[in-house]
Symmetry: C2
Subunit: 306 residues, 2 copies
């Protein structure tokens, strides 16, 4: 049974990644100016784990076995937003990173002007992809809701707002309750897009309002778990396993879970989060069997540091 499940999960990950990559390539295939599309493709089509897309598709399939096709344009839009956030974060005005996923960052290849504009263009292409490519079987009021939620998850109430808080508190004036601030930063900076991933997949597949809330909660908790594993890996990982330079957080005097709580307490927090995430999944009322891919994605996240 375990062997079969493992096989299924690997097959799920491989086949869905291929599906996502193929559709991303199609959405980014043609267009002028050529250099702009090259820059967009460079970051979006760079080999990635596609965790957010997989979460969106797994949530959709949990509700309806065949709904991954319905959720596919949304899964691709999420990957565009994620790629865009990396391009802008890597710019000299922000993190000033030269290497990303083991390759030169976008602005190192295309220059700062093109990298900045490629990020802007990807934000718009993500919206266009949802507006134009979600199948017509989905009610347009749901499409509008998905666009609204993605705009919030990405913009000031979500990712961008978290990034601003992160800048404000990195190496600067720390608040009295550092842990609360850090939770708030991560819920926005990485959590909101992961929350959107599971919420949108379930919603497009026809989840009830209560199910939508529980899939959203699962994503939010998973997002925090990812952040803590990232913080841990920055301390314990190598450049090879990370695809980027380790130790950068400490060097930048960055506010991280590990910096505040230490390695052991951070690992204990991960165990708590795993339990919370499983509770949220159980509350969806969906069968254990249908949730297997989401469970496995959670396990995969935790396994990175154990």
């Amino acid at each position: 049974m375990v062997a079969t499940t493992k096989f299924d999960f690997e097959e799920f990950v491989a086949s869905k990644r291929m599906l996502v990559d193929a559709h991303l390539a199609e959405y980014l295939a043609t267009g002028t100016p050529e250099v702009l599309y090259e820059s967009m493709r460079y970051s979006v089509l760079s080999p990635g784990k596609r965790i957010r897309a997989l979460l969106c598709l797994a949530a959709a399939q949990a509700i309806d076995e065949d709904a991954h096709r319905v959720a596919l344009p949304c899964a691709c839009a999420i990957e565009m937003i994620h790629a865009m956030s990396l391009i802008h974060d890597d710019l000299p005005a922000l993190d000033n990173d030269d290497i990303r996923r083991g390759k030169p960052t976008n602005h190192k290849v295309f220059g700062e002007a093109i990298a900045l504009l490629a990020g802007d263009a990807l934000l718009m292409l993500a919206m266009e992809t949802i507006a134009n490519h979600i199948p017509s079987s989905i009610d347009k009021s749901i499409v509008v809701k998905v666009i609204s939620e993605l705009a919030r998850a990405t913009g000031a109430p979500g990712m961008v707002g978290g990034q601003v808080d992160d800048i404000a508190f990195t190496g600067g004036k720390l608040p009295a309750d550092k842990l609360t601030m850090l939770n708030s930063i991560h819920l926005r900076k990485t959590g909101s897009l992961i929350r959107f991933s599971t919420w949108s997949g379930a919603t497009l597949a026809g989840a009830s309002q209560e199910q939508q809330n529980n899939f959203a909660a699962f994503g939010e908790i998973l997002g925090l778990a990812f952040q803590i594993t990232d913080d841990l890996l920055d301390v314990t990982g190598s450049a090879e396993t990370l695809g980027k330079t380790p130790g950068k957080d400490a060097e930048a005097n960055k506010l991280t879970f590990v910096a505040i709580e230490g390695i052991d307490k951070s690992k204990a927090k991960l165990v708590d989060l795993q339990r919370e995430a499983e509770t949220a999944l159980a509350k969806t009322g969906v069968s254990k069997q249908s949730l297997i891919y989401l469970e496995s994605l959670l396990q995969m996240a935790i396994n990175r540091v154990s």
Copy 2:
């Protein structure tokens, strides 16, 4: 008759500007991080001509006297996109401008990181505003279409793409047919958002497909006219009338209509464009009286340099 019309137009401009400003202030009123919203407000609420919003509202009213309320969220979204484009364009990675509308540019006040992120947040807030604030009387399929068209007008197929071409050909390798390239740059860089302004106003007000096309054509032509007047003003204007440093185009060896064609031919081109724009309006089949505000906005654009 002329006096009455003039009075009406001034009243239209003043009242609609106030309406747009009030709604923009409301959409940007609250939110954290405070510094991010301050930065967004700094650029969006800075006193501006609101030409794009006025065009959207005037096109809506041309179709249906009362439709300006329906089009208002879209008009505000357009102004957010316009403000965002100025913030990113002014960054050191692009035009590196210190002064905009007579005030320090966004990054001069808030720093490059916040300015970059405020631009990203405004792109998302524009989408959220359309998704959430267009009245429920409008069919959701039209809302989705408006979002899709705004994403195209703003992204790689529109404004951002034009900006990339502009960078590629400024002070660099010029193409054989400079005028064709310049037209193409401007149709995207400034034309596409102005085209969207008139198209979306008419569409939200219930215009037929053919009317939509003609309102779009009018906006596109008007966008070119604006660009030529801008180019002319850069040569003939003062810092006071421009709100920015004149002569920057020539200094940057920028490809402009005036640089290629000279002042006289550029002025003759404006006359041609005015005729084309009036033809597009006539083709909408809407009464002369209903088109009076759009006609007046066209005249206002041309008058800037005559």
